[in-house]
């Protein structure tokens, strides 16, 4: 998931809330990468069974959910109302794009034989959508 703070313009000074957001998101993404690598290795070499299987399967999701929560925390902590508005707008556009893409692909899967896409790919889709939304918002308010 992108660590980029929504709608930060190139050259624009970062707010204290933006800096805190970056300082929180990057370590969380490192944890995600490490967890995902460990879980992939585990399932390839020593496939777990029973409750451990479920716990291990869910482990990579936890840091990504934390990142989602961190976006909310950034919005809550941002004291500059314009930057907060830009962040909310960026997130709403990104969520709208991902939701729309999922709906479209779901119907294509159901009726047109499109290949199945695992749901965890929404994290990657959100990164792409957020990047596009950030560009759109930056252009709108340049």
């Amino acid at each position: 998931m992108s660590p980029a703070t929504p709608a930060r313009r190139r050259g624009a000074q970062w707010s204290p809330a933006m800096k805190r957001h970056q300082q929180r998101v990057w370590p969380t993404l490192v944890v995600y990468a490490a967890t995902l690598s460990a879980v992939m290795w585990l399932f390839q070499t020593h496939p777990p069974t029973g409750p451990v299987k479920y716990l291990a399967a869910l482990a990579p999701a936890a840091p990504l959910i934390v990142v989602v929560w961190l976006f909310g925390r950034y919005v809550y902590e941002e004291t500059d109302e314009f930057r907060r508005w830009q962040a909310i707008l960026t997130l709403l556009i990104a969520l709208g794009l991902v939701l729309s893409a999922c709906i479209v692909w779901g119907f294509l899967e159901a009726f047109a034989g499109a290949p199945h896409v695992p749901l965890y790919h929404v994290a990657t889709m959100f990164v792409v959508a957020q990047t596009l939304a950030s560009i759109a918002v930056a252009l709108r308010y340049r």
Binding site: A12, D80, E81, F82, R83, Y141
Partner: protein, 62 residues
């Protein structure tokens, strides 16, 4: 929303950064408000009015 922020700021020879510092907001906020791309909240509008010692309606028009 149209406003006279740019004129009022120019009259005092303040840059956007100067005004942003006085209002405790980002320079981007001042720019967005001046260009009419962002309408400030009521608390920020009151803060702007207080800074320029004018009623809100003398700065912003609907």
């Amino acid at each position: 929303m149209k406003n006279r922020l740019k004129v009022l700021r120019a009259e005092r020879d303040w840059s956007q950064a100067d005004l942003a510092d006085r209002l405790d907001v980002s320079r981007q906020s001042v720019n967005a408000i001046e260009t009419g791309k962002y309408d400030p909240s009521l608390p920020l509008a009151f803060k702007i009015a207080k800074l320029f010692e004018m009623p809100i309606e003398a700065i912003f028009e609907g």
